[in-house]
Symmetry: C2
Subunit: 409 residues, 2 copies
């Protein structure tokens, strides 16, 4: 049994990428795709089969003689864990090397607790999953983790996260590696992980250039360029919540005026609902306020028969659409996926976003543009985290990057 | 003498990229960089030396015995032409495979003339350059051309270009290939070509993620991601001139309201200068108007002692800065290069753009961000066009793309 994570050369990573994606390949086909001689391919593949990461079985389609031997990716070579840490919920999944989820756990969480406490709990849950499946902790070769805050990706550290101040610069990677010594740990912010999830198993599956917009308490964006997550020069690309959408708007907590987030995210919708209830502009919302003592974003979203509530949603969609229209002109994506809590308000918000983007972007930019609500629901986080973990083991580009920024800090 | 353009496998392209960039490499070092066995490297390199595109000379640094043989890129293997077609000027340069310019031509141009006439003239100029250097037209293996209009890159066709309506869907590539049968012809819009020029020989030389903003009659943007030009899903990425910067602004020719271009580009600056002159708000501008009968963008720019002229420039910079601030939050570039005619107004415009971007972007996004005026001047167009031509022969990624979208249409 192998208890070492694979250490791959760039050509080995390339071979594995092809075998993983195509399921089963013959040596001859592989040599042709890569452009290698049979001879150099042989030594490369022998190395991978000796490691046990590729297996060779005589199950190919025969054209007469004995069946040709085909290379398969060994999904049980190792395991990865996906962790999706939300503002109020924790999702953990254990998957094999083929990204197939074999164990899953979900629970409420209080992010204000100390990271020592939360991560001890996370480690315990993973250990229980492994015990149940009789898998050694040393066979966990990758952990991907999404967190609701800004992450310096090269170090895996959260930097001054507003929702989880206790996690500022907390060494998540080394703490997890105490229990899972062979795991490469990749930590990223939740919306980047969502984008990877959409690319792997969602609407982004067939798109190379797209972005995912998360609308919840804040507004953020994960960007895919050529099928790879784009992080920008300092790793903070996609921070669109503080784009100015109204020069005469309210002051945002960032100190600027008229930020998208301050005017269109969940809290802004709830606040406008509360004001409408108090002013008597909406009977439905006034009744909810009288009954519950407060107005939530969901209250405004569910008041479908109410004109004022509809206007609030439409305004939010219009502001988001205006910001996105600028980004569509700049980036010319093939797809925008809308996710996050507020996206549950659904069709009216989507309609308003779509209308504004179409009106405010150039026709050529929107000719092939799709804008849709994510279909992945609560699975998106762990699916993305698992894909993130696997990418950092197998993706050729990421393997190269990993050499520049080693994970094992 | 070889009169065929190189047709490269992806591994050959990879080898050439390394030799081109490093100047001279030994076979052993090359094999190690690529991760090839010596044996497979030998057949690959023999193929390239037989073609004449690589030469091998015994001039390496010796550690005692005879000097090791080094591989060199043969700059005289073939030639490329860079064409920079501006709204009023035409620049053409002939360069060797090392991008070294050996002939250059510059002249005024009237873009309203029929493309048949203009391209016949272009072909004549190139033929004269070749004759002077005694180079056969068949040795021109690449032509790169920048044009001031929207281009569908995969076909090389201009699509409804406002400045050059007669060029709509004109088959530039096949017309040029009538005279230069071995040339791959790549046509792109001027700002994309500027971005390639900045990457190759300008401020973008050490940056992977940056964009170039051209401010002239219009405003456009060329985007570099990971050192490669990013064109977007429909090839129209970077069209930032129609980002809305003022919901109560004037109507733009595109039909929308408050577009950046309509409010901040050259004509808007000139118009505001004219109004100020008429209203007597600026003595300097009023004198210029009385003398010349009109106010140009340059007039406003050169009135450095005039408060109103300074306000006009500052307002333009602020609007451009506001649009760029949104894009900085989204894209997190390491550098923004400002070019185009209006950028000649210089320091005051740059100062206003910088101030606004710093004020309106998130601190993390601007920590390492540089914003500068291009230093390449009028050479940028042809340098970029030459680099574009060479990229479509040698760049590994572009070679792959070329297979999907063949040039020889």
């Amino acid at each position: 049994m192998n208890t070492q994570p694979p250490i791959l050369s760039s050509n080995e990573a390339k071979v594995l990428e092809i075998v993983r994606k195509s399921g089963a390949v013959s040596r001859a086909d592989l040599a042709e795709i890569i452009g290698y001689s049979r001879a150099s391919m042989t030594s490369l593949i022998n190395n991978l089969t000796e490691q046990g990461i590729l297996t060779e079985v005589g199950d190919g389609l025969s054209s007469g003689g004995r069946k040709p031997r085909m290379l398969h990716f060994n999904r049980q070579y190792g395991y990865v864990v996906g962790i999706d840490m939300g503002a109020t919920s924790l999702d953990i999944a254990l998957a094999d090397f083929g990204a197939y989820i074999i164990e899953r756990h979900s629970q409420p969480i209080n992010l204000r607790e100390h990271p020592d406490v939360i991560l001890a709990h996370v480690r315990q849950i993973i250990l229980e999953m492994l015990l149940k499946r009789q898998i050694s902790p040393e066979k966990v070769f990758g952990i991907g983790m999404g967190v609701p805050g800004p992450v310096e990706f090269s170090t895996g550290l959260l930097i001054a996260p507003p929702l989880m101040p206790g996690w500022d610069s907390y060494p998540i990677r080394s703490v997890l590696r105490e229990t899972f010594p062979n795991a490469r740990v990749a930590v990223d912010n939740d919306v980047n992980v969502m984008a990877i999830g959409e690319k792997r198993a969602g609407l982004g599956n067939r798109e190379d250039n797209f972005f995912v917009v998360k609308i919840g308490t804040g507004i953020g964006c994960g960007i895919m360029v050529d099928g790879h997550l784009y992080r920008g020069s300092s790793g903070c690309a996609g921070d669109i919540g503080h784009i100015c959408v109204d020069r005469n708007g309210p002051v945002c907590h960032c100190g600027n005026i008229g930020c998208l987030e301050a005017m269109a995210a969940g809290p802004a919708i709830a606040l406008r609902g509360l004001e409408a209830a108090k002013r008597g502009q909406s009977e439905i919302l006034a009744n909810i306020l009288a009954h519950n003592g407060k107005i939530t974003t969901e209250d405004v979203g569910s008041a479908v028969a109410d004109r004022t509530a509809n206007e609030i949603i439409a305004d939010s969609g219009r502001l988001i659409g205006e910001a996105l229209a600028s980004l569509v002109n700049f980036f010319n994506p093939g797809l925008i996926v809308i996710g996050g809590g507020v996206s549950n308000i659904g069709d009216r918000l989507l309609a308003s976003i779509r209308r504004t983007v179409l009106m405010r972007s150039l026709p050529l930019s929107t000719r092939h543009l799709k804008i849709d609500i994510s279909e992945m629901g609560s699975d998106m986080g762990v699916t993305g985290a698992i894909a993130l973990a696997l990418e950092y083991i197998f993706d050729q580009k990421e393997v190269m990057r990993a050499r520049e920024y080693p994970y094992h800090t």
